[in-house]
């Protein structure tokens, strides 16, 4: 069953949501590798929503729709920012970008999840992780 939650643009609120949701994932018996992957991807999506989407604006909110069933985990994170083009991002693993402190979140979501897609505006990411 899908649950939807709206949280403020705040790292502590994001962390609390992530811990609560990951507890539900763990209760479904997903393997440690799946849990690590989902935790990482969820936190990266929330970081992007807070810092890049809502630009840490406390008057904006983040909407999270999350579902875990026996076989898969589906998470959608939507911010209130203007969006971005996920197809035109620098490669953070390129030699010239290795020393940049930011810019790894989207790549990590794509590596650790089975499906990652964005809406046209670029302010919503949907991620799917199948049971490994």
């Amino acid at each position: 069953m899908q649950e939807t939650k709206v949280i403020p643009t705040d790292l502590q609120a994001a962390r609390s949501f992530a811990e609560e949701f990951l507890g539900k994932v763990a209760a479904k018996g997903f393997a440690d590798g799946d849990l690590f992957a989902v935790r990482l991807a969820l936190e990266e999506a929330l970081i992007n929503a807070i810092k890049h989407g809502n630009r840490s604006d406390p008057d904006k909110f983040i909407t999270i729709a999350a579902e875990v069933n026996g076989e898969a985990i589906v998470i959608t994170v939507t911010d209130q920012g203007g969006g971005f083009d996920p197809d035109h991002l620098p490669d953070p693993t390129a030699d010239e970008n290795l020393e940049k402190p930011c810019g790894r979140g989207i790549m990590l979501m794509r590596v650790y999840m089975d499906e990652v897609s964005f809406n046209d505006r670029g302010n919503q990411v949907r991620m799917v992780k199948q049971r490994g």
Partner: protein
């Protein structure tokens, strides 16, 4: 151990000759990256030649935490210092390899291996 049963986040610093060993235990999650950044900044401000990050008991790190380490690495350059990473656990090692940050820091098997030669 699942990510929901991780060790508590703890930072400990041990001073050595021309080095500081910063042990990072537990998860560097959304709210722990900033304390990690502050601790590294403090060591950088002291111009410690080598900061050894012992991550053998770190079970998770997000990109904010990676960013804190990279920012410290850049600041260390101002005094020709270095950050070295020791014994990442399996998933953390995999993350460092995926991001190719192993090329930036190199990984060491022990704190002693990472300390400057006297």
């Amino acid at each position: 151990m699942t990510p929901m049963e991780h060790k508590p986040f703890v930072l400990t610093v041990q001073r050595r000759d021309r080095a500081a060993v910063l042990k990072v235990s537990g998860s560097v999650s959304l709210t722990e990256a900033e304390p990690l950044r502050e601790q590294i900044d403090q060591l950088v401000a002291e111009q410690v030649p080598v900061i050894v990050l012992d991550v053998s008991e770190m079970d998770f790190i997000c990109s904010l935490g990676l960013g804190a380490i990279i920012a410290g690495h850049l600041k260390c350059r101002h005094h020709c210092g270095q950050i070295k990473i020791v014994r990442p656990s399996g998933p953390v090692r995999e993350l460092l390899e995926t991001t190719r940050l192993t090329k930036l820091f190199g990984l060491y098997d022990s704190v002693e291996d990472a300390l400057p030669r006297s």
